[in-house]
């Protein structure tokens, strides 16, 4: 237990890094994933192919391999960046594929009749999208998105294996240094993760219940 209390500043530092990693990657993944999702429902065939290819490739690749690309392979291709930046790239690239799928199924979950009715009353494409389709799609997209960001929080731990001193990295460094306190050290790390994931999970459940409406 002493090891945890003594190293509390280190934990907090790691927690901060985890939060930074998660939030920055989440923002980038949200934008890039939404763009890809738009590609996948667009009438332009090459864009649809791009979206599909991206999702299929990235979803079947382990996150660790994506990290390997940005940390070990990229320097061979003449791209050298900070480890933190590599981690953000890897997490965003990986998470975007899942965001894309959530967005796509959200848009597809809106009943065809909704858009048809909108066109029948004479709304333009933009109006249909803004007033009818997107508000409904958004409702069904939010719960899976929260789950994706919970997964992202946990996934950010992979960065700890690639030279970023986030929560798992801190645990990985402290555990061998305090052989008698290994369990306490790692439970401390776990507590910080749970402090994010459990409340977020409850939030997701709540939102899901609230958003679920008769369709």
């Amino acid at each position: 237990m002493d090891a945890v209390i003594e190293n509390l500043p280190l934990y907090l530092q790691g927690f901060r890094t985890t939060l930074e990693l998660t939030l920055i990657s989440a923002a980038i993944a949200l934008v890039w994933g939404t763009v890809l999702g738009a590609f996948r429902v667009s009438p332009v065939a090459p864009l649809r192919w791009l979206g599909t290819a991206y999702v299929e490739l990235v979803r079947n690749t382990p996150l660790t391999l994506v990290f390997i690309f940005f940390v070990f392979v990229a320097p061979q291709l003449g791209i050298t960046v900070d480890f933190f930046v590599s981690a953000v790239c890897a997490l965003s690239v990986y998470t975007a594929a899942f965001v894309c799928e959530a967005v796509r199924s959200g848009v597809n979950s809106v009943g065809v009749g909704q858009a048809e009715a909108a066109r029948a009353v004479g709304l333009t494409f933009t109006q249909t999208l803004q007033a009818i389709v997107l508000p409904q799609a958004l409702r069904s997209v939010i719960p899976p998105l929260i789950n994706i960001f919970i997964a992202l929080t946990k996934n950010s731990s992979v960065a700890g294996g690639f030279f970023v001193a986030e929560l798992f990295g801190v645990g990985k460094q402290l555990a061998p240094a305090n052989p008698s306190d290994v369990v306490a050290v790692l439970v401390g790390v776990a507590a910080f993760y749970l402090a994010i994931t459990i409340p977020a999970g409850l939030l997701a459940g709540q939102v899901e219940r609230r958003v679920a409406f008769a369709r």
Partner: protein, 294 residues
Amino acid sequence: MSSVLYDAPGPRARRRELLLSAVAGVILLAVLFVMYRQLDSREQWAAERWQVFTEPPLSQNAADVWRSLLVTGLVATLRAAAVAAVIAAVVGVVLAFARMARPGWIRVPVIAVIEFFRGLPVVLLMFFGVIALGLPLFWGVVFGLVLYNGAIIAEILRAGIVSLPKGQTEAAYAIGLSRTQTLFTILLPQAVRRMLPSLVSQLVVLNKDTSLGFIIGYAELLRRLQLNTQFFGQRYWFQFFVVGAAIYIAVNFTLSRLAVWLERRGSAKAAGGIPHAEDVEVQAAAPTETATGL
């Protein structure tokens, strides 16, 4: 292509789509070309770089390289995944059963355990197994995978059981089956069938997660890639990365297709004979569970 967003296109819309497609196609090809040139300028396409897989330098032969990747590496990955999948399935069934037990003193702690393991990174669990419990690396990897996936499988099975019509349980009780018998002979088989697509998707996630063993030092496929680049030189990283990614994608893609096929087969069957009012609900709930996929 029919979609919520637009009607079947008329002649003008079709012309516009064609034009946009052409423009997008050209831009896409241009981007790919720039990437190709960038790689070319670093001599990544040079035959010599790829000969590491056919006539490797440093007096190795091709068979050694492939053996280290496919036999030692891929087999280590698949072995960990297979062992973990079997144990996780058993753990999942036990947890699902305990999660639905009537006495609160069983149910509540089990809910806590499931939520606990679901909320933790798998790599942390693996690391705990190795460094705190002193497990060998292989079992450390399996330990982490089992705890996490066991909790997820329990939730999938529970969702499947909850989605079954009440009449199933009632009929089982009516013919005198006990609660345990009802669960194992009536509810579980139906739930497994219903949730098969989600379960297979979870298998893909589990297979991908074996790669986390790389971080704790288990000598699986990715570690083999790294060892090869350490032996032949860092400049071969791109080539080994491409081959490693291809292997992983091939394995997981096959599993994913299996999930899609099972889903089609399942829904075709439901449409054909056994109508369930809840089917719609299950299908709406299942993707959210799995789409997250780690």
